[in-house]
């Protein structure tokens, strides 16, 4: 009995292995996507290219930090090693553009940049940062996955007087002690600007729907808060009659919008809290036989597909959430290491796309 069963087992394993290897070979060997078929080469420049234009930021709150207050000694950024810890896999346009922007700016300034990616696992990001310190990073730029849980890293960085700049999310700690500055977008302000755009597009009258982001996410709450506040203040004629989550995904955005236009065919505007849900809404409107402009859509993020949506007439406005932190981050570190004052909170400038500039600025979108 035994030899037979072990033979079977071996053959099963062989079968499995062959199957998987064949499939992998197939998959990687002869793939041919639409782009390959059309052989259209898209411009390779992404993210980094538009960076220079968006380099300006403003200090908010006015609190500043200096090298004297933080501790440590002056150094020339040109001879320094900077470590960058990215939080999530570069699998969405935002993260891709963010990492590309930091790399491009480091290259431009001739600075040695070490990078690591936490792959959406907080424990990995923590060990990433410890690795970066061990590899000799003199300064750190961190895009944190979470705001909390950074104390062990912060204290080991503080012991070596390593200045930290956090981008896109904050670290809970004391500014100018645990870290130097935070550079990020103002999500409430993005909501307000989306509302302004919506008021303009609808003429300030009608019924609105909101496609909310993922529940329990500060981006969702802040983008909703800003939007609702501004609508209430400036356009009492606009009523939000529908608020459902699209979980930041195109598929959910489409499904929810399909339900919406069936039960409320007269809806005048849809505010999508990210581009993906907005593009899902466009799919749903197309499927329902609506024409571009029948329902006004305003989204937040500024990805290339959404800006293309403006060019095509389906989307009325895209408020950018700027991922190009490279120039500002290095500017801040440069000034700081020279001994100058730098703001503790820096708000990155987000641009916006409407039909007036969408075509011209399409290449700038990430």
């Amino acid at each position: 009995m035994k030899p037979i069963s072990s033979l079977r087992r071996t053959s099963a394993r062989a079968l499995l292995a062959t199957g998987l290897i064949t499939s992998l070979a197939l998959v990687s060997g002869c793939a041919k996507s639409e782009d390959d078929a059309a052989a259209d080469k898209k411009p390779a420049a992404q993210g980094g290219s538009g960076g220079a234009a968006a380099a300006s930021g403003t200090g908010a709150g006015g609190r500043t930090c200096t090298l004297d207050a933080f501790g440590g000694k002056k150094l020339d950024l040109k001879n320094a090693t900077v470590g960058f810890s990215q939080s999530e896999k570069e699998a969405n346009p935002f993260r891709i553009a963010e990492t590309a922007s930091l790399k491009a700016e480091a290259e431009k300034r001739g600075i040695k940049l070490l990078t690591a990616n936490g792959q959406s696992q907080f424990s990995k990001q923590i060990s990433d940062v410890q690795d970066l310190i061990a590899k000799g990073a003199d300064l750190l730029v961190i895009a944190p996955l979470n705001s909390d849980g950074w104390q062990p890293v912060l204290s080991s960085a503080r012991a070596r007087h390593i200045p930290i700049v956090t981008v896109d999310r904050k670290i809970n700690g004391t500014a100018c002690k645990d870290y130097v500055s935070f550079i990020g977008s103002d999500f409430v302000e993005q909501g307000r600007r989306a509302a302004d755009r919506m008021i303009e597009a609808t003429g300030g009258k009608g019924e609105l729907a909101i496609l909310l982001g993922a529940a329990g996410n500060n981006v969702t709450t802040e983008r909703t808060k800003g939007f609702e506040q501004r609508i209430e203040e400036k356009a009492p004629g606009l009523k939000v009659v529908f608020q459902q989550t699209g979980e930041f995904s195109r598929e959910k955005g489409q499904s929810v919008t399909e339900q919406l236009i069936q039960s409320k065919p007269g809806i005048d505007g849809i505010y999508a809290e990210n581009d993906e849900m907005g593009l899902g809404a466009v799919n749903a409107l197309k499927g329902a036989g609506k024409q571009p402009g029948d329902v006004k859509i305003v989204t937040v993020d500024g990805t290339r597909s959404a800006v293309q949506g403006i060019v095509d007439g389906w989307i009325d406005g895209v408020i950018e959430s700027n991922p190009r932190f490279g120039p500002l981050a290095f500017q801040t570190l440069d000034a700081f290491t020279k001994g100058q004052k730098v703001p503790q909170d820096i708000v990155i400038k987000d641009s916006a796309y409407t039909k007036d500039n969408a075509k011209a600025d399409l290449a700038k979108a990430y």
Partner: protein, 320 residues
Amino acid sequence: MTQLTLGRVTADRDRLRRLLQDYGVYLGVAVLLLVNVAFTPHFLSAENFRTQAVQVAPVLIVALGMALAIGTEGVDLSVGSVMALATSLVSLYLGYGPWIALLVAVAGGLVVGLANGSLIAFVGVQPIVATLALMVAGRGLALVLLPQLKQVHDPGMAALGSGAVLGVPYLVLIAAGLALLTAFVVRRTTFGRQLLALGDSRPAARLAGLPVRRVLILVYAASGAFAAVAGVLATARLTASDPTSLGTLMELSAITAVVVGGTPLSGGRVRIGGTVAGAVLIQLLTATLIKHDLPPSWTQIAQAVVIVLAVYAARERGKR
């Protein structure tokens, strides 16, 4: 005298329970339809029914494969990841035209299903563990193949996602066809009998000389292929390949549809009609709550209530 009546009452209650277990899901669908006709504006329109049918189609197709796996006293947790893998493959192979891309995607699902089935049938790994492994690996592979969302421009794919014959969308036709096929296989073929027999008691099936391993492998291969078809259809509907989010939590929706439809988790019984109704019930429930703009968390709570009710009915039946 009292004893007699009591006995009759129990018998009546038993019968009621059995009726509720067998037909409760259809009753649920009927009640939800009536509620919506009465309270939801613009519910009674062809357009609305089309929307609900199109949205439920991928879930239903995945649930059909899941019903087979559950019928063998197993489960397939990898279905959501197989959808993601299928969407990546479609995007990678669309250069050869939509048919080739579709075939490659379904072949990919088949390979994952065969791997699941081999692990379960030959290596003896528990279905929940084997398919959990491929759930994790499948999503990983999908993201390696296609790291981020990619637009699909192929007109053939777009037509598949939004086209219709005599007002019935392709997606709905395909889902209905696969449901009929599965029902036929379960009820009318030797393979179906063998599947149910081994779900009832695997030792007995083995002693009776049934090809247990072959049946198990075929069941998981079918589940993988169905999930891949669902992934392709979802891609066509979205006109984009999104391996990051496509199919997430799909395994739970599919299991819910199967269980609510009256297929017991203990195997030996597969109810395809019930599975269809189960999927429709969940879809209508979600649609109702969305159309009335109730907080999204309510949908989840309502789904949980439906699952608990269905499992409660099944429990009573098992005790008898």
